[in-house]
Amino acid sequence: MLKEKADETALGLQSGNAGNVGSRDITKLIFDIANFDFYLKNMDASVKKTKNLLMKYSGASGCTIMFLDSYDYLWKIGEKTTYPFKLGEGVAGWAAKHQKRVFIEDIKKDKRFKIISKKSSGAILSFPIIKNDEVLGVINLTYSGQNKSSFPPQKAVIDVFAKKMESVLENIILLHEAEGQRVELQARKDLPNILEDDLPLGRKLKEIKKEMIKFVDVDNISICVTDSIRAIPLYKCTDSKNVRLIASLTKVYADAHGRKRTFFDLSEKQNFELITRKGTGHTTIYPISTGNQMNGFILIEDSVKNIENLSVLEKNLIILAASKISKFIIRQQSSKKIIEEKERWRTVFHNVDDGIILLSRDKLIIEANLKARELLGSKKTSLSGKNIFSLLKIMDPEVESPTLSSIKNLSRFKATDQQALSKKIDNFFSSHRTIRPKEYYIKTKNGRYWVMISMKTAMQDLESEIYGIIHIKDITKGKEVEQDKNEFMSMVSHELRTPLTAMKGYLTMTLNSDYGKLNEKQERSLTRVEESTDRMVVLVEDILDVSRIELGKFNLHKEPLNLSEAVCMMIRELGAKIKTKKIAVTVQNKNIECCLKKSKSSTEHQCKNLNIYILADRARFMQILGNLIDNAVKYSFDGGKVEINITSGKEFAEVSIKDNGVGVAKEDQDKLFRRFSRIHNPLSIQAGGTGLGLYITKKLVVAHGGEIGVSGKQGEGTTFSVKMPIAKQLPLI
């Protein structure tokens, strides 16, 4: 305070030196000021009114009122053009900086101040507008020519003015700030609204720009959204006439982007990219970034303003707009991604040639794809919320088969698959286990289909709506072909067997001398015919077996079988052959006399005593044993040896049949089980056979859940071993 007073004294400002402003004037002034509408929302109008009042009462010839913005630039208000004064420039700057009220009569009069006044004959009065020790602006009063006589103005006037001016300006500034905040609030409110609308990006940019233009006072605002990888413009929103500028900026921007130059944070002014072109004013570029990616820019063109001249509000609005755009891009990208993903998923879902059904926890259909709809109802109905098993009925295919149908009609209905399937479903839901594919013949609204149904549980996420997936594969076409083939085979077999029956029947009758005794030659030739006929019968049976196996058309009636007894029976059946070739057959290292005897002597039970029971279809297992033992005999040289051994484990029993015949080379052993594969060896021609025996044997063993293996060396004989599952329950008898 003391210092200020001293300064004032030094300047020669004295009360009472007020000159020609009378007390009437002061009353008038106070009255005027009291009525001054400082709540005017229009700052320019307020300032203008203040200016007029000031000039009237101070007798000044000119008045400038300037405000400091938050970047310490002085803004001249009350004129049409606003231009900045840098702090420290001129008297006003000095005054503002030193928070002094400065009265300047003439530079010549007072040399203490290095104040330059170009009007040597005039005087400048300059004082800062201070609020809470903060300089808000400066008022300059100029006295020139005839007005110079009224300088300095009455101190009382100045004091009242300064004080009032401060509060007026304070209010104006407050109003201005309030207005700014309101505008910003409105803008913040409006921008997100624009973004939340489901507008296409191009439209949205236009809307944003429209909002920006309202509050950012520059010549041109352009918004450009580019792709984030090569900075290719995707959307442009510009009124700029300088199309080339936009293009080149895009290029500059793209280059910068390409070099991965850091693009600025709008909140720190030093980080603004400033591109100024001579003659075209200022061009400022603001990046729109999404995370680490650049997605475009906002371009500000103005003839006067560069970034440094933009108000806080304007900058904030630009930042806001940029961030809104980037948020929108992110959202658009992610929603686009979701849409694309969904689209991709749906494309696959509906174009798969299999029926896929998503099931909920309560066993209802969540969604069914087109194929599933086609199979279960109609393509148009969604099936959602329906119970899958109300939509399909499991049929007995045999009843539906056109040929042989009447015969099959008489045969017992199989345990209803419908029940089996619903049981499976229950199981599926209770055990969370995958249900393996199984064939069903189903009847739906749309017709009858052969399908393969399997079930899989979906991710075990408790939140997940989907419990599991039912997969329905339409195998009707294949099945029809299969069925045709099947029926064809049945008919062929019947047709082949009938003449064979006649041939065989008459031959045996002739050979049995039903038509009189045959001579030796007749008998020998007819025996050859009989042998050939037998081979033909075997061939037909084998081919039929193969076709049945390949069609999966043989049913196994599994029962506990005494393994050693079965072996014994088979040996007895092949007894004639064994005897002819003089093969020494042993079972468990005992010769097989016991087996060959038909009488029920005590020795016969030596075989039975092993008491190993396997679970097998009697006829099919006999076929397996028959094939293997017959092979062993066939491929042994006369007087050879066949050893049969039976062992038992926990789960499986094993029969091994070892001969000391021709043997099979290691590399050929795999081929043995293939169709029509016959390994060439000295005995194969003599042995005859169809090349199907081992193939059938293996298929039968596997169908029983067993295994078959072969070992041995060429020339040293062969060992076949068959593992069969053990019967857990013994026969009742």
Binding site: L410, S411, H494, R497, A502, K504, D514, V540, L544
Partner: protein, 130 residues
């Protein structure tokens, strides 16, 4: 007294063969080519045993059996199925066949005419005993 047999078989050659065989073995043989024909032959002329093919036109063997079961006089005639049907005996539903009073089920290619005659005699012997 000669034992009588009805052979129902649609294939001429086989029919002739089995007829010949049974006649040689001292049976009085009646023959039929279809199930319907078989039923006609049975009217008032019940044989001691019937050899029955399955796959035949007009009326197949099993249908004929069903018809027989409806008739009190024919219900108890022993029947042996003799067939070459594409299914083996195991595949065939034996329960049903035996429910229809089938005494045996023979496969033509597997069982020679001799076997068939033997089986017929066995069945007849058992029938006599019972």
């Amino acid at each position: 007294m000669k034992q009588s047999i009805l052979i129902v078989e649609d294939d001429n050659i086989l029919q002739e063969m089995y007829c010949e065989k049974f006649e040689m073995d001292g049976f009085k043989v009646e023959k039929a080519s279809t199930g319907r024909e078989g039923l006609k032959t049975l009217e008032g002329n019940a044989p001691d045993i019937i050899i029955l093919d399955i796959l035949m036109p007009d009326m197949n063997g099993l249908e004929m059996l069903k018809e027989m079961k409806k008739n009190r006089e024919l219900r108890n005639i022993p029947v042996i199925l003799l067939t070459n049907l594409g299914e083996s005996k195991i595949d065939m539903d034996s329960e049903l066949s035996f429910a229809l009073g089938i005494k045996d089920y023979l496969i033509k290619t597997k069982h020679t005419p001799d076997d068939v005659v033997k089986r017929v005699r066995q069945v007849l012997k058992l029938e006599c005993k019972s």
